[in-house]
Amino acid sequence: MRERRESRFQGGGNLVAMSKVLWISGGRVIDPANNRDESGDVFAVDGRVVSSLSEEQKSAARRIDAGGLVVCPGFVDIHVHLREPGQTHKENIASGTRAAAAGGFTTVVCMPNTEPPADNAGTIQFIKDAIARDAVVNVYPTGCITVGRQGERLAPTGSLKRAGVVAITDDGDCVQNNEIMRRAVEYAKMFDICVMDHCQDAALTEGSVMNEGANSIRFGLGGWPNSAEDIIVSRNVILSSYSGAHIHLQHITSAYAVDIIRRAKQRGIRITAEASPHHISLTDDLLKTYDVNYKMNPPLRTEEDRQALISGLLDGTLDCIATDHAPHTDYEKDREFDYAPFGIIGLETALAVCLQTLVVAGKCDLPFLVSLLTNKPAKVLKLDAGTLSPGAMADITIFDPEREWTANPDDYQSRSVNSPWNGQQLRGKVAQTIVAGEIVWSGESASKMA
């Protein structure tokens, strides 16, 4: 894709020193897009995957011994907040993409709820310039559905697409007006661009800060009913059904919503959906401590919902995992629970959390989890990523599924530390992250930009 090359080669200053030939040997190679799971080698020449090397290339290759490690396509996260422009005290493209690299993500899709919101081609160009200058992994921007994310007037979808967005979304907010949403998806369909929606009925969630249920009642916190998500998911299924437009449902949390999506897909409706590592691993029981790192939008739900999300991932109802990496500084987050902003960071812990929740817990095998993090999210937005096919960009993640480590906020690459896993012992760590044949993360230290 054009934008992708631009971002890589315009920012090529950091790539000058790369080895032209890369030979990753002896790992367990998992490439779900090609049904590959075997011990073997992966090769790259000039930033692209090749099926073999000549003897001459082998002798010139930079060799990485991946013995005992998993070698797979770089992870793809279609839902991150990099906060640039306007909120760079929380995160910026340099720090956010270093966090991505540390978590094994080589491609991320950033949300447009920046300041100003990315609702015009000029702001998209500003973001692309910052990506070209500062990003250590591939970044694709998204644009807003409506002007200023106000839900009232359509943003210029065509110009946004021309400027390089891969989807439109008002993420953080949800378009409430059904007429506006109807026109948005009909209009977007003309450009074959996906509309991603943050499914939340605002009237049902006024004053809501956690899942509505026995726990919100007990803790006295404002309850956020599942129906607030279910209703908008249904609305979007209906609008997609009538228009044929592709609507992607962001961070699904409710068991009922999973069921609605499952039935919509059975009917052939063009709906895709994602689940986050925190919603598949944590429940609202944890809010007993009023720890603000359990405050996110949408909220942590019940065990029943959590299990429904996992089932949805397993049977393909939910297409992929996306982190909703949402950085906030400690001084913003460190408030009374009601006043703290929603959201947690997730890029650096996603692999370990998903390994524990899905693979160690026996829900799926390792190749299936890798697919949820690679070719499946790439497919949702038709991104040129997530595979080790010959000719593909050499975006590769090497990880140790058994390696234990402590999530220490001091070690995070993100500028923010708002994570519920702070201080916890996790299992599964990225050893090396490679973007276009260039190592951008190797265990303990990120590749620093000049």
Partner: protein, 320 residues
């Protein structure tokens, strides 16, 4: 002479965290305060030289005054800080406000706040005792203490076999939540009654019975706690009008006739006469509403005393 038994809590945040034995310690101390002080204005020297800060992020005259009197009876000084006077309105965080209060050599902090969990949050930040005087809809533990103390004076220390009905806006009520924990720990059965939107079924997970049938709830109850009904922003979508509430759930003479003789009627105040209760009933012999106010002072004295001594053990001779 009073023993502080095994009281170990620096803070008093929620009845949920307090054991039945600890409730006994509180009640026994409150009883001895009541006997010693009677209705006199006599002071005890127990907390002489200590300073209590009443940090009220949400206005409340009666709870604040009750804590001030309790502190004064224990010879502590108290300082009142309101949200409008504090730096919080200028954007200072609660953490910074609390640290400043500690730096002023405060010994105890009593806080009322609209945000649930804020007292717990504060107790983790500062070393001096934090006493929850109401945090949003979560808890109002000293109110539950005084309610149960009032019942205990009539029923004795074991509430087994007693049924207590709480009527009204339970959803937004910290008083209801704290009483649900306290009453059940003391052995009572608790029934919640009111409109389905204000008494959601989820409450049954706390071990109580949820009912929307006023008559069935009232006929066999031993005590009835009424809660103040408000028809303000937060509840405006939850029921049609105060008039509708009164006609469906207000306690009037006819409904009071369903009660067993001797049923105790309680209200945490301030009363909406003519809304949740008929004016005459509020003044009747059934009603212990004014006694609740008096008991509030001695229960708060017990909390202040025990939490202060958990930080700085006070010798027993100083008590009583």
């Amino acid at each position: 002479m009073t023993s502080t038994g095994t009281w170990t809590h620096k803070d008093f945040i929620s009845i949920e965290d307090i054991t039945r034995d600890e409730l006994e310690i509180l009640f026994k101390l409150a009883s001895s305060f009541k006997q010693t002080l009677g209705r006199s204005q006599k002071k005890l020297p127990s907390l002489r030289g200590k300073t209590l800060v009443n940090l009220f992020m949400e206005p409340s005259t009666r709870t604040r005054v009750s804590f001030e009197i309790a502190a004064s009876r224990l010879s502590a000084d108290s300082i009142f800080i309101s949200a409008s006077a504090s730096s919080l309105v200028k954007g200072e965080t609660l953490r910074d406000t609390a640290r400043n209060i500690v730096a002023l050599n405060a010994d105890l902090l009593v806080m009322r706040h609209s945000a649930p969990g804020s007292s717990l949050y504060l107790s983790k930040i500062i070393d001096i005792p934090v006493i929850n005087a109401g945090d949003g809809a979560h808890a109002h533990p000293t109110q539950a203490l005084l309610d149960c103390f009032t019942l205990r004076e009539r029923w004795g220390s074991d509430f087994s076999g007693k049924k207590v009905t709480i009527l009204g806006d339970i959803l937004f009520s910290r008083v209801a939540r704290s009483n649900i924990w306290a009453l059940q720990k003391l052995g009572a059965k608790v029934t919640l009654v009111g409109p389905s939107t204000l008494v959601p079924e989820y409450f049954s997970a706390m071990g109580v019975e949820v009912s929307h049938d006023l008559k069935r709830a009232l006929v066999d109850t031993d005590a009835l706690m009424l809660l103040r009904i408000q028809h303000e922003r937060q509840t405006s979508t939850h029921f049609p009008s105060l008039r509708e509430y009164t006609s469906m759930f207000g306690l009037n003479a006819m409904r009071a006739s369903w009660l067993k003789p001797g049923t105790i009627i309680m209200h945490p105040g301030p009363i909406n006469r003519g809304v949740e209760i008929d004016s005459k009933l509020a003044d009747s012999d059934h009603s212990v509403i004014l006694e609740q106010v008096t008991n509030g002072i001695i229960c708060r004295m017990a909390v202040l005393y025990l939490c202060a001594s958990a930080v700085n053990p006070v010798s027993r001779e100083e008590v009583i």
